[in-house]
Symmetry: C2
Amino acid sequence: MAQLRTRTAARRSAAVDVSPIEEEAPAPSDVKAPRASAPMNADAPAGDDRDRASPDYEIIELFFFAYRDFVSDPDRMLNSYGFGRAHHRILHFVGRQSGLTIAELLDILRITKQSLNRVLKELIRDGFVEQRAGVTDRRQRLLYLTEKGEALSLAMSAVQQERIARALSKCDAGAREAVLDFLFAMIDPDDSAHVARLVWKEAGRRS
Amino acid sequence: MAQLRTRTAARRSAAVDVSPIEEEAPAPSDVKAPRASAPMNADAPAGDDRDRASPDYEIIELFFFAYRDFVSDPDRMLNSYGFGRAHHRILHFVGRQSGLTIAELLDILRITKQSLNRVLKELIRDGFVEQRAGVTDRRQRLLYLTEKGEALSLAMSAVQQERIARALSKCDAGAREAVLDFLFAMIDPDDSAHVARLVWKEAGRRS
DNA sequence: GAGATATGTCAATAAGGCTGACATAAAAAT
DNA sequence: ATTTTTATGTCAGCCTTATTGACATATCTC
């Protein structure tokens, strides 16, 4: 979207800043991230410049803080049910891909069946998730959310959505596309196809 | 940086692809995230439209997968030292803010001193971190990385940087700014000032 | 000096993961 | 019709990260 200027620019003349004085009590936080701090080799000479790339500390750190707060909302909600974030993930992906099998869920979460089972058992016991035997292959357990589970799952997505919407509202137009591109590209290449299939569905689940 | 055009249009076609159609089966993963899927109320009537916002599943899920892979690199590296991601965080922030106090570190990580101490003790024992008594206040313990610690910390930032650079190289120009804005805006407002100070330094550490 | 602060430490507990060893039912292969 | 493979479940023990609560020690501050 290339909007360097257009918008954004000005921010807290920041960092290096000029004005003397005590900048430290930052106006509770400016709307946008300071500018002009491309991690140096941003547009390096194209050459396979394999040497030293100054770490992009801004992204590294903001990613950490952003993700921490991002998961804190559902965390809080689950707490009242005696659940944790492991439960969140299950509720989320079962909700998103109704009828997926244990194996598929394991593949998405990349945890062991023992770990999954401990948590899944609680969700089933408490009536958030249901299992049904596979139709074509009766060994499989197809997972579904109950109404209760659906409600909780949606509630959690809702709070996360609020945070995302708030964040995007503070960004320039086109930011969402850029963020999607970036996040997708941050995924291990050998996994991106899998994730793409999951996020931008198209494959029919088994019956 | 090389971006197609301004936008990002021309999607998938690569890899398997050939014949037109079949839009759905994402060639083992295309470079960019599919388009045109703004979460509906993206640009709603401006009105305080408080009702229902369709969850932005794309961002929600990509954030999860991206972050998981993002921390997997350092995780692997730390493993060989018998360390975990808790050690990573300490090494990172001590490296970034040489001489910070225990209290400051606790404030950044938002964990208890007991949790911090368990891990910090190991890092000191193994010679990755050093403590010195504060100058003005000798009760304080100022933390510093040793050369060994600095090396490890940089190595971890380096792999993360590589992933980030790779990701940004697949995005349109301006993506980095958009991502920074977004990530920063995803942080709890009451914490963003703190984070801003930390990321875009300006406050002098104590001696 | 008295009290507040910065840090350290012991003990118990929880959540989420892991490995290894088995067990069962149902599908597949021979 | 067996045998083998798969998909799933489960028991047991262990690890890492974090928590809460109770104290202990310097060192500031008033």
